[in-house]
């Protein structure tokens, strides 16, 4: 049985902040995504240029940041040889390459733009600090092996909801602890790598990831609103709504106008439910969650609420995530156990009348039938 890899559907929108409109300042946010040569190769990124007076070219910095991130990731995925631990991939290979690529491109841009206008002394004085002019945050996501990898520097937010909506995370980048004021970590810092945060979401089958610049969360006064926003776009994305991006733009405009006044940018990555071959095709469109969560991720494992179907090569396994039990194994043990008990009983009480023995066997058969019916029901439930 083959699981069909499906490309996630990716949507993005970015709106100029209400305060930026009033003060005639450009949108300093950027977003970018690109698909690779196969469905499991893609990358998406958003960035938020700082915008304060110390960072006058931050809109360029953010644009270069998202391009650098997506290009770096796709170059890696397309040319990947051998298998590495996902954490090593993102924390070493990807981050270092993104920072390097961003700096090279910013340096080139800066030299082309500014060098002609500066004296040699001015150039020498400014040169080490040129990156500060382009200061920006960056958040990105891409798939690697069986997991989704996320990285972020700065105060962008990441939200996740599973297909059923029961498994959620509203702080994928761990921003809750230091969301104070307007200071944030930046790609322009000399020790930028130190401030990157990573996370992973394993084995997603159905669900929606929402990555946004800080203007979005700052506009919402409570978590319920955030969840409502997430649910709304999950539903639209699930139904392949053509107007999703227009709708996202409209919502972001509302948020910046009535809320933070900041630029608002979001990327929505929707993961359709994986298709399997006809023998296992669900009878209708709905499905249960299939989110495997390890303890290292930001989603607490107790939030995982249902069973999953895992397809590995030709093997199909049903698992209870919470209890960690293999249902088929239990069933087998119970049947073997029942037969053993019957055999033991017969050897201990050889004079049991045949009628009585038949009765016991019928009872055992009934139990097995009941269990089989329960298993069948469970399988149907999982398929749904």
């Amino acid at each position: 049985m083959e699981q069909q890899h499906q490309r996630p559907r990716i949507y993005t929108a970015s709106v100029r902040g209400n305060l930026h409109v009033l003060h005639n300042i450009v949108n300093q946010d950027s977003s970018f995504f690109q698909y690779g040569s196969t469905p499991d190769r893609w990358a998406a990124a958003i960035a938020d240029g700082h915008g304060s007076s110390a960072h006058p070219k931050s809109e360029i910095g953010s644009r270069v940041a998202v391009q650098s991130a997506v290009e770096t990731v796709l170059e890696f995925l397309e040319n990947e040889e051998g298998e590495f631990h996902p954490f090593d991939v993102i924390s070493e290979r990807i981050i270092n390459s993104i920072i390097y690529k961003w700096r090279v491109q910013i340096s080139t841009l800066y030299q082309n733009e500014e060098k002609e206008q500066l004296t040699l002394d001015e150039w020498k004085e400014i040169s080490p600090y040129e990156f500060i002019l382009y200061g920006t945050t960056l958040a990105f996501v891409f798939p690697y092996q069986d997991v989704l990898l996320l990285g972020s520097i700065g105060d962008s937010d990441g939200f996740w909801r599973s297909q059923s909506g029961l498994a959620r995370s509203l702080d994928l980048f761990g921003n809750n602890d230091d969301g104070i004021g307007e200071q944030t970590h930046s790609l322009c810092l000399p020790n930028a790598k130190r401030f990157f945060r990573f996370n992973s979401l394993p084995s997603i089958n159905g669900g929606t990831l929402f990555i946004a610049t800080d203007g979005v969360k700052k506009s919402l006064s409570d978590e319920d609103s955030l969840n409502n926003l997430l649910d709304y776009f999950h539903t639209l994305a699930s139904t392949k709504d053509d107007s999703l991006e227009a709708d996202l733009t409209e919502q972001l405009q509302k948020l910046t106008k009535e809320g933070s006044g900041d630029d608002c940018t979001a990327i929505i990555v929707h993961f359709p439910i994986a298709e399997v071959d006809n023998a296992l095709q669900p009878t209708h469109d709905e499905t249960s969650d299939d989110l495997e969560v390890d303890n290292s991720t930001a989603i607490p494992s107790e939030q995982v609420d249902c069973n999953s179907v895992q397809v590995q090569g030709n093997k199909l396994t049903f698992t209870f995530k919470k209890k960690g039990l293999n249902f088929l194994l239990i069933l087998t043990l119970m049947i073997v156990g029942t037969l053993s008990l019957v055999a033991l009983w017969k050897s201990l009480y050889p004079k049991i009348p045949t009628e009585q023995m038949t009765f016991y066997l019928k009872e055992a058969k009934l139990s097995v039938s009941t269990m089989m019916a329960q298993v069948k029901k469970k399988v149907q439930c999982l398929q749904k």
Binding site: A54, E182, T184, D241, Q251, K254
Partner: protein, 236 residues
């Protein structure tokens, strides 16, 4: 997709970002001389319309005004904060010693307990004519260590003859602000500076983000300060 299956628009509670503004005013006995306390009351009252204008220029901020006075003790004069457009100044009276340290300690408690996490950096405007009589530095250290205190826009205005003001204290209050304390030698200066501090600080607080690499989120050094007044009012 059929439009009939579209979900209802999400129910979102959208909120402006809170900007807490704190007047920290010296009402010690020395403020009763040369009409200083009257000038202070008048200047704060006159600053309100300008603050309302500044708030209108930042439509995405909800400006809340607080006032803390310090004489023999530090006490809240306006607390909790009042939206600037309904703020009415009640005059304060001068009396007692200069418990500036106690005032900063109260501010620290306030910033620690009553600041929504997604607020804009608070604005602290300190107006004083003299020297603290309690442990100012201990409270200042507490302020410097608190996340919001470090990121606050802090402006100190010394009022009275230059030689009577404890400039060291004023400068320390404005640590990392990239700006020197302001000197109000007369009532016109004071009115100008309080107005300036109330409006510019509000605008600066709601400006864009920064790396924080230099220790300060807000830079006021590029914003012109009102020019020195030649002589328009009483000399303190």
């Amino acid at each position: 997709m059929s439009s009939t299956t579209r979900p209802a628009r999400p129910n979102l509670q959208i909120a402006k970002r809170r900007l807490n503004f704190y007047y920290i005013l010296d009402v010690s006995g020395s403020m009763s001389t040369n009409g200083r306390i009257q000038a202070l009351n008048q200047s704060v009252r006159q600053s309100i319309p300008k603050m309302v204008e500044a708030a209108q220029g930042s439509p995405n901020a909800e400006l809340m005004v607080h006032a803390l006075t310090f004489g023999s003790t530090a006490q809240w004069h306006v607390h909790p904060g009042i939206p600037v457009d309904s703020f009415v100044w009640q005059d304060v009276k001068a009396n007692g010693t200069t418990s500036m340290g106690a005032a900063l300690s109260k501010i620290c408690d306030e910033l620690e307990n009553n600041m929504p996490s997604r607020s804009l950096p608070p604005v602290l405007v300190l107006v004083s004519d003299g020297h603290p009589t309690d442990n100012f530095d201990k409270s200042l250290a507490k302020l410097a260590q608190s996340p919001w205190g470090r990121k606050a826009v802090r402006i100190a205005i010394g009022m009275g003859p230059r030689h009577e003001i404890d400039w060291g204290t004023m400068e320390r209050f404005m640590f990392d602000m990239d700006l020197q304390p302001l000197h109000a030698a007369n009532s016109a200066d004071l009115a100008d500076y309080i107005r300036w501090a109330s409006t510019v600080a509000v605008a600066a607080s709601s400006a864009g983000s920064s790396t924080g690499e230099d220790g300060s989120a807000i830079h006021l050094s590029n914003i012109p300060i009102p020019s020195t007044v030649i002589d328009y009012g009483d000399i303190f």
